[in-house]
Amino acid sequence: MAKHKISVTVNGAVREAEVESRLLLVHFLRENLRLTGTHVGCDTSHCGVCTVRLDGEPVKSCTLLAVQADGRSVNTVEGLEQGGKLHPMQEAFTEKHALQCGFCTPGMLMTASALLERNQNPSEQEIRQAISGNLCRCTGYLNIVKAVQYAAEKTRGAP
């Protein structure tokens, strides 16, 4: 199996590796870099538990090859907390009980935090649309919607 040298900026740090052509990005993150916060939940790009951000865009890392991330920037759940301070979305998820088993949570956080960057005041329908590629089997989604609204308020500095 052919191997390729890749260089990927992961959560701000340059990571270099020699990988097989077929290695999925999610396995590169989980197994080569031991960033196990990104999970695997299906084989068909439906569940979204593997969601990371590639050059800022939320993507399903089970449907990308590691070589496709060469020269690009990847952000995972492990990079959300900065300098010991939780991302507003992380705080909001705890505050609004937007997680139970925690398995979908990292992907959900990555999608929701990307939404908030493009739209600081999303409507309920926009939130539901944005997270509709991320399945959750525990929460029934309502508290996730509330968490995104809460984080949006905090980010806007609303009272």
Partner: protein, 786 residues
């Protein structure tokens, strides 16, 4: 609330102790476990529902660098490990010798140094099958003269897995014959799958030097698994004290992680034979196609009543399709689970139900999908047929329910099928739900919309659950009684460690159990460390499913705490130099009656337990309780669903969903609401979308997320939840359990709403999932499709 926010006992919406690791991506799920020298396993599965295996050619697979071994049936046969019992006491192949019995059955397993190489190896294994005719229809399978499927069972002459019944058949028939009106309805609940976001898997690690097996695995019942492993593999030297099951963070369970699947056993065998840790993680298609399904109940329901709507008799005859083997996770005395709760919230005097379980060439199962042993089937049957009766009598479904409910003064209520309902107030719950939803206004809106040709429906479900298995006189799994446990240690500095026989899969036990200890001992919940899931450290218990954690281990936490409090009281009297009878308790401290300034805190008592004891007292501050519940608990609720239907596409949109639940006293309101929200979504799924179906050749529909539709945020409405509180009289905290109520109660509410929307078109029933196509066919038939 008895405690303040600092102590955070019952009734506080304490933020979860689990969350800090999960929001950082630092959970430890089974696929996160990596051990030195670990190998990977991938499973070759059957593409046929029924076939003879003529040859398994592993030569190409074994030539792949990194492939170390292929384990097949004959390999396991050498160790007599090719068969295993199911948790229902039936039998199933771990790996086949010469015949496969369902699509996706495990045929052999490839062990390799890397995950991808194991998959390459599985692809390279060549299996020569001779396809045989599959039996996919349970009605054909049960018919006389059908070919016998389980030829492995000596003397087996039919395809009946079991027959079970409850109640008085003759009396129910007599009562039905005397009824002025009988509502009859065939109700089918199809196969569905829990589809937890994490699939199943394990890392089996056999340490030959110590002769010790450690298995990190996705199990809801680690102790039960340990015992089963010891019973099954005792003959090859696996002894229970040298088996350790570790259930790490679990990414959702819902019943699907109760059974022992062949993959676990093969991984264990591989680790024992090769002497290295072996990881096996299912992919989603394996998970959906091969792991235990739920439901598959074909029910014939008859509900008899007087003309005024008074219900008097019920009979339900069920054919249950169990697939290749009965792999249900039911208590032994209840092979059809707690299906006999089917009289529901109504005091009918005569009832009878029976279940014939049938083998077919489908994957094995009969586990729950977030419900307490077939309660969903029972509730769907009764709540659907109550609406059929209402339609027949031209009565409002709310009025019919109100007229019939068991009244608050009738509790404890003995049902016709033998259960003693502990407590309830059914009219109050329905009244509250109707007030919240604005029932009368909705009926008017519906009338107006109908006049305009628009379709909307209102559906009610007033369910009674039966959870918390269970009292040891009746409840066991493979002989092991269904108590559960708590072990609490209070350290000298007043902090505590509490361990349990249950295992959270997202329910928040680390928080709620800590709150129970806080409630009883006054030690802040923040100071109570909760641990579960490691059989080497946790006390024995049967695990978490059937909404049993609060009824069993939650009760055990209270009882163990009370033992500690009793000891602390003796110590406090010693420290205060008074008699115990002079002491009063408020959360966190004992004080001398009438002298509130003279007190000793629980933390001071804990320190004294290790430093300054009364003469003759045993040091330490620990207690264990194995709680054997005196009865089950009976949570209930009334749900009202409002749907709108698109006449062009047949699509059902859940506009509103009001859920009034009563789970007795509440430990953490935030977590209870979260459980209900999630359960409701898992009610929307089966009601409208989810089904695992098969064609006549045994090919599966719904075997991946491409066509097994799990509801997204777009299909779920903004849930409207509220409560009534009717404590359980026998649970030490008055709690009942809540994890599954919503999954049980939601599907009939949704189905009733859809039928209600279409009732003026002559529709009296639709089986779930009520897909757009099913609705559109009805609309077309009635000439109402756009």
């Amino acid at each position: 609330m008895k405690t303040d926010a600092k102590i955070c006992g019952m009734g506080h919406s304490m933020k979860r102790k689990e969350d800090p690791r999960f929001i950082r991506g630092q959970g430890n799920y089974v696929d996160d476990v990596v051990l030195p020298g670990m190998l990977y396993m991938d499973i070759v599965r059957s593409p046929h529902a029924h076939a003879k295996i003529k040859k398994i050619d592993t030569s190409k697979a074994l030539k792949i660098p990194g492939v170390l071994a292929v384990i097949d049936g004959p390999t396991l046969e050498k160790y007599k490990l090719h068969w295993m019992p199911t948790i229902s006491g039936d039998t199933q192949m771990v790996l086949p010798i010469d015949e496969v019995m369902y699509v996706a059955q495990e045929v052999c397993a490839v062990i390799a140094t890397e995950r991808y190489i194991a998959a390459d190896g599985a692809d390279a294994v060549e299996v020569d099958y001779e396809p045989l005719a599959p039996m996919m229809d349970p009605m054909k399978s049960i018919a006389p003269g059908a070919p016998v499927l389980r030829k492995d069972k000596a003397g087996k002459k039919d395809n009946i897995a079991f027959h079970w019944e409850a109640g008085d058949r003759a009396a129910a028939e007599r009562a039905l014959a005397a009824c002025e009106v009988v509502a009859e309805q065939d109700v089918y609940l199809p196969r569905i799958h829990v589809a937890s976001m994490e699939t199943c898997g394990c890392v089996a690690d056999f340490d030959a030097a110590q002769g010790k097996l450690t298995v990190h695995m996705t199990t809801q019942a680690p102790h039960a698994v340990r015992t089963v492993f010891a019973l099954v593999a005792g003959h090859v030297g696996l002894s229970e004290e040298r088996i350790r099951i570790i259930s790490p963070d679990i990414g959702g369970g819902f019943g699907g992680k109760v059974p022992v699947y062949p993959g676990y056993v093969i991984a264990v065998a591989a680790s024992v034979v090769i002497g290295k840790p072996v990881k096996w993680i299912e992919d989603r298609m394996e998970n959906l196609q091969a792991d235990s399904f739920a439901r598959d109940y074909h029910m014939k329901v008859r509900l008899g009543a007087k003309k005024d709507g008074t219900m008097t008799a019920l009979s339900i005859k069920t054919i249950a399709d169990h697939g290749y083997t009965n792999a249900s996770a039911n208590p032994m005395k209840f092979p059809a689970g707690l299906f006999s709760i089917c009289t529901g919230s109504y005091p009918m005097k005569n009832a009878f139900c029976e279940v014939d379980a049938v083998y077919t060439h489908k994957p094995p199962g009969g586990v729950a999908y977030r419900c307490s042993f077939r309660v969903t089937e029972a509730v769907h049957a009764i709540e659907r047929v109550v609406d059929v009766l209402a339609q027949k009598l031209k009565m409002d479904p709310a009025e019919l329910r109100m007229k019939n409910f068991i009244q608050p003064g009738q509790f404890p209520y003995k049902s016709a099928l033998g259960w003693e309902y502990d407590s309830g107030n059914y009219p109050a719950a329905l009244k509250k739900a109707m007030d919240i939803v604005g029932y009368e206004a909705l009926r008017k809106e519906q009338k107006d919309k109908r006049a305009r040709g628009e379709l909307m429906g209102i559906g009610i479900c007033s369910f009674t659950e039966i959870v918390g298995a269970g009292p040891s006189k009746d409840f066991d799994i493979l002989g092991i009684k269904m108590f559960d446990s708590a072990e609490i240690r209070v350290h000298p500095t007043g902090k505590a460690l509490a361990r349990f026989g249950t295992k959270s899969q997202g329910q928040g036990h680390e928080t709620t159990y800590a709150q129970i200890v806080a409630e009883e001992l006054g030690i802040p919940a923040a100071d109570v460390q909760v641990e579960e899931g490691d059989t080497d450290t946790a006390p024995y218990g049967l695990g978490t499913y059937a909404s049993r954690s609060t009824p069993t281990s939650g009760a055990a936490a209270a009882m163990a705490s009370r033992k500690i409090r009793a000891k602390a009281k003796t110590i406090a009297a010693h420290l205060l130099e008074c008699s115990e009878v002079d002491l009063e308790w408020e959360p966190g401290k004992f004080f001398i009656k009438g002298v509130p300034g003279k007190f000793k805190t629980i933390q001071e008592c804990a320190f004294a337990a290790y430093t300054n004891l009364p003469a003759g007292m045993e040091p330490g501050m620990e207690a264990t309780n194995y709680y054997d519940p005196p009865n089950l608990t009976f949570p209930f609720g009334s749900y009202i669903c409002v749907v709108d239907i698109d006449r062009g596409t047949g699509e059902v949109k859940v506009r509103r969903f009001v859920a009034v639940d009563d789970c007795g006293n509440i430990i953490n309101p935030m977590i209870v609401d979260g459980q209900i929200h999630g359960g409701l979504a898992q009610g929307v799924g089966p009601a409208l979308y989810e089904e695992i179906g098969y064609d006549e050749e045994g090919n599966v529909f719904g075997g991946s997320f491409l066509d097994y539709y799990v509801p997204t945020a777009l299909e779920c409405p903004t849930w409207e939840t509220d409560k009534t509180v009717t404590p359980s009289p026998h649970h030490p905290l008055g709690a009942k359990g809540v994890g599954e109520s919503a999954t049980v109660g939601a599907p009939p509410a949704i189905a009733n709403a859809v039928v209600d929307a279409l009732s003026h078109l002559g529709v009296t029933h639709l089986d779930i999932p009520i897909t757009p196509e099913k609705v559109w066919q009805q609309l077309r038939k009635a000439g109402a499709a756009l």
